[in-house]
Amino acid sequence: MTAPLVEMRNMSISFGGIHAVDDVTVDLYPGEVVGLLGHNGAGKSTLIKMLSGAYQGDAGQILIDGKKVTISNPRDARAHNIETIYQTLALADNLDAASNLFLGRELVNAMGLVDDAAMESETRKIMARLNPNFQKFKAPVSALSGGQRQSVAIARAVYFNARILIMDEPTAALGPHETQMVAELIDQLKAEGIGIFLIDHDIHQVMQLCDRASVMKNGRLVGTVRVADVTDDDLLAMIILGKMPDMAA
């Protein structure tokens, strides 16, 4: 048994007296996809933002490869090869795809100046793999469709050799065809040994893509189950009633 890639132990965070996340423990192994399920406001995104550095928890420990780490901003997370696809995508609308992909990590030439040609050529390479139909390399991302914007956000997370990938509703803006492409990408990344936290509303998709699912309700963890051991209805019961299935997980 390999060591967990990530362990988030007893994580808690409050906003103005509201316990957004309350004593939640989850873990993730290499080459594994763990789904995070729950209603809107259950605390899934908040939990994951403590791993991506957007929030700092009030309590709890984050371990990567069994070692305790401190993640106090998005740069710390990136230093640990944690990449995030945010629900809001976190793109700068007036910049083009390449500028967004390399935002905060621009490729520079020997003079220290941004190398737009190199960034565009790298962007073309990764987009050819992720979304071969993507052509609008010169346009600001505000001019792109929802699916195209999503693929820029995904490309940004995948390009930098992530070991830990956080996907917050990556298919929310996508049509069936593009959703299928994301599913294939997840399988491919998984095969490369990357660990993925996947936040999703679609139970069907979670059953199809994930190895395990952690369900949250009102900021607390209901439980974590192996997807192969449960039915759609079991998961639904966990989400809605906050009740573990009868069988031992």
Partner: protein, 356 residues
């Protein structure tokens, strides 16, 4: 959803309205739609077009006097100080902020270098360096108020505008430092009042400095990661932060650079005015915003080229010169500039509405 689909086509239409939809879709690709699209990709073309048209129109109205090399270089000279302030202002507005204190910082720094060099016998180069450091510090304070105390930029700089203005009145005793005294004690302070004369054209060093400042800042904004981050922050500060940009540190640096540019402008202003006058450029804060807005830089941040602010300053100068030569009363110059601002922002709103 495909990109070429016009938004209107998705609306439910009564039967038989198909022809209307087709016409509508056709209209989107018509001349106005294409213009809108072009301007969206090239926001700086608006001030360039306005500048060319206004030069042509005033050339016809005011005739040869307007087109004389003397008058054209005079316009450059007249807009040079507001132009430099507009360059500083552009940096801040690109981050979706605003700096109401630019002119106050500039005049304060001209008072500081003037006092040091003329009244207190400090060598002129050192006096200038101190004023540059002072401008950077004044900008730094603006940046810290915005990032640490989390004040809206409008409020932070409204406050420091008054603070810096009071300081400059205190330091100067509300008295000008006379040109003759500067000539005797520290002629270097009036360096940018010198000019290159070619025929009747008189190109002042101050005008050249303004253009150089714009070129340097344009280069920084377009060719460095720092510049990329300025745009990203103005676009969406939270997205920039999540992308790993130290947004607060970036903002502080932007306000500090704006302060430094104002301090350099202070040196040029001494040459332009010929003395250190505590009451000069009192309206410079708002005039710099006028130039930036007419130059097609969005007040919402993240959009526009700093070169637009140069064209914006020139447009104001061309209007003032042209109307004056045409014998129009000063109040109508003000009237015209007012409409220019309104039209410029209205055009920006129209361009922003463009889709895919």
């Amino acid at each position: 959803m495909t990109d070429t689909e016009p938004p209107g086509a998705a609306r439910p239409q009564p039967a038989g309205a198909a022809a209307t939809v087709a016409v509508f879709a056709e209209g989107r690709r018509g001349p106005m739609g294409r213009l809108q699209h072009f301007l969206h990709g090239n926001p700086t073309m608006v001030p360039v077009i306005v500048l060319v048209i206004s030069i042509a129109v005033f050339g016809v109205i005011a005739g040869e006097r307007f087109f004389s090399p003397f008058n054209l270089t005079l316009i450059l000279q007249q807009v040079s100080i507001i132009g430099i302030l507009a360059a500083a202002q552009s940096l801040v507005i690109l981050t979706a902020g605003i700096d109401l204190s630019v002119a106050a910082m500039m005049v304060l720094m001209s008072v500081i270098s003037g006092k040091l060099a003329v009244d207190w016998g400090v060598p002129a180069p050192l006096a200038l360096l101190i004023s540059f450091a002072g401008g950077t510090a004044a900008g730094l304070l603006n940046g810290l108020l915005v990032t640490r105390i989390k004040l809206p930029p409008f409020i932070a700089t409204l406050g420091t505008w008054n603070v810096y203005y009071a300081l400059l009145l205190y330091l100067s005793g509300a008295q000008s430092i006379r040109g003759q005294d500067i000539d005797e004690a520290a002629p270097l302070l009036k360096f940018f009042g010198n000019s290159i004369a070619v025929g009747s054209a008189r190109l002042t060093y101050g005008s050249i400095l303004m253009v150089l400042i714009f070129l340097v800042l344009w280069y920084l904004l377009t060719k460095t990661a720092w510049g990329r981050h300025v745009y990203a922050i103005g676009d969406d500060k939270e997205a920039a932060e999540l992308s790993g940009i130290r947004t607060d540190r970036m903002l502080v640096s932007v306000y500090a650079v704006a302060g430094l540019v104002c301090a350099i402008g202070a040196w040029a202003a001494i040459g332009r005015v010929g003395s250190v006058s505590p009451n000069s450029f009192y309206e410079g804060n708002l005039q710099s915003i006028t130039a930036v807005v007419i130059g097609g830089i969005s007040l919402f941040g993240g959009r526009g080229s700093i070169m637009g602010a140069l064209f914006g300053a020139l447009i104001v100068g061309v209007f003032q010169s042209g109307l004056r030569l045409a014998g129009v009363d000063v109040l109508w110059q003000v009237f015209a500039i007012g409409w220019l601002i309104i039209i410029a922002v209205a055009i920006d709103q129209w361009i922003r509405k463009v889709s895919g």
